[in-house]
């Protein structure tokens, strides 16, 4: 186990919640609890990493999880997360990222090293409230060892100002027979502007499941690029994006799959539901096969909510607005 909370002088406990910046920690945790009704961040039995602005303000690790963090001179917070071989974590590791000022820049670089035969889940929450202008950039380099399973759920809670610019970039390599599920969602508030990139390299028998769900409002701008590089034989993956675009939202989605080895299977899917006359959305699927035994498929739809779905719910007494809410909640909720 390796825990070096270098931003917390004098603190070296691995099981206590570290509160080097207690006020920030409390504000952030309260915001998180308001949004989720979940008090895991105060629970010693739950591993957690809590980042406010450009520093780690809380950390709780458990056996098998090692975390090192440092803030570079240019303000980039670098966090190395190391999961030992054979670690099976029964409860999710929480990663809470927040920004409590109105303006600024938050630059985070995560390096995840997941050992062999690991089973672990991360729940990431980005709480970016009351922001006038913020650039939040998070780059994750992920290595998933043989026979390991990594589930990463990333949920964003912003506000209705639309002043946040999110760059969420993930590069991942999945070793033999590894599994990686990456779920990104920003459906509760305006997203502002987002560039989401997930680029995966899958080795033999590795499997990936990518899903992104975003609710665009007002002048939100959404760009998604999801890439499956199926490099090992029998590798397989699904990349699915769902966007509900309203008002003046602009959205562009590119899903890519490359069948570079025999018996690889990939499926990419994009559904963009629009509401309003000023929305602009587009999707581009890219499939490329360089091995005759590879099989790739894609599915895409762009348009309004299906009328028969609205009719069936309205025939139960719901208004069109309420029916729309239920349908959208199912799709991206």
């Amino acid at each position: 186990m390796c825990v070096t909370p270098s931003t917390f002088p004098g603190v070296n406990s691995t099981m206590d919640i570290v509160k080097a910046y207690e006020q920030e920690f409390d504000r952030l945790v309260k915001l998180y609890e308001e949004h989720t009704q979940d008090n895991s961040l105060r629970n010693n039995a739950v591993a957690s990493i809590i980042v406010s602005g450009n520093r780690v303000v809380g950390l709780n690790t458990l056996n098998g999880i090692g975390v090192r963090s440092r803030t570079r001179e240019d303000g980039v917070v670098i966090i190395d997360v190391n999961i030992d071989d054979n670690t099976v974590m029964p409860v999710p590791v929480h990663l809470c990222t927040g920004f409590l000022e109105k303006h600024g820049e938050q630059l985070l670089k995560f390096n995840y090293f997941i050992g062999n035969n690991v089973k672990i889940k991360f729940k990431s929450h980005c709480i970016l409230r009351n922001i006038e202008k913020l650039h939040h950039k998070m780059i994750s380099d992920v290595y998933v060892g043989r026979n390991s399973s990594l589930i990463y759920e990333d949920e964003h809670f912003h506000d209705e100002n639309g002043g946040v610019f999110v760059e969420a970039i993930t590069y991942a390599k999945l070793n033999q027979n590894a599994f990686f599920q990456n779920k990104f969602s920003a459906t509760k508030t305006r997203i502002g502007k987002i560039n989401l990139l997930v680029d995966l390299e899958l080795m033999e028998y590795a499997k990936a499941d990518l899903e992104s769900k975003i609710y665009g409002k007002q002048t939100d701008e959404i760009t998604i690029q999801e890439i499956l590089r199926l490099n090992g034989e029998h590798a397989g993956g699904i990349a699915k994006s769902t966007i509900f675009a309203t008002d003046w939202t602009r959205a562009h989605v590119v899903n890519e799959a490359y069948g570079n080895a025999a018996h690889t299977m990939g499926h990419i899917e994009c559904n963009e539901i629009v509401k309003g006359e000023n929305v602009s959305v587009s999707t581009v699927p890219v499939l490329k096969v360089v091995n005759e035994k590879a099989e790739l498929t894609h599915e895409a739809s762009v348009g309004r909510i299906k009328q028969d779905q609205l009719d069936i719910l309205m025939s139960k007494g719901l208004s069109e607005e309420a029916a729309t809410g239920i349908i959208i909640n199912g799709l991206i909720g």
Binding site: D311, M314, G317, I326, I327, G330
Partner: protein, 238 residues
Amino acid sequence: MLELKNIRYVKNTKEIIKNVSLQFQESQVTALIGNNGVGKSTIAYIIMGLSDYTPTSGSVFLNGEDISGFSITDRAKKGISLLWQEPVRFEGLTVENYLSLGGRINKKKLYEALELVRLNPNVYLPRFVDKKLSGGERKRVEIASCVLLNPKFLVMDEPDSGIDIMSLDMIHDIIVYLKLQRTGIIIITHREEIVTTSDYSYLICDGRIIRQGASREIIDYYKTTCDVCDTINVPRGE
């Protein structure tokens, strides 16, 4: 009473419904019988008020009130509902969310409704109303949804379609249950076993009522005349 008076419906210059008048009573089961393509489902959609099914002329009355201009939602609020022949699927929506209409109906009632359609609530409430539900399961969920609405009038558009023959007694039980709740039921069907549960029947051909009366008499006529008819929408004698 639910009443259709002199309904005509023309689509793309083709007259689909030709001056039809129908009456439906609460606590009574009425069957609309006819071959495929004669206009039965169109009548169902006109009753429900679907936007593409506004009658070219004629009116729909509920207990004397002209509801012809009412939206689907408003008709549903008045107590009219529709069991769709092919219920659509909703990705990401659980059976619980669907039946409760997003939490508007309490869970105890959902259990009761699912048990009525012989689906185990513990198994089905967490499942999704998507492609993974079979046609028969989806139909049962839809029937449960209609039961939960406790409607004054329910149009059941081929309630037996997509459901195996062994489940016909479930449909029969649901009809009896709803009738006891004083719901007026309008059943669109070809199936004799279903028609015989009804009190009164209308036989439809070519967008017209060609015969009406006691269900036994109408189904016998249908079997001997329409069921063996090799023309579409040409009533006997024309």
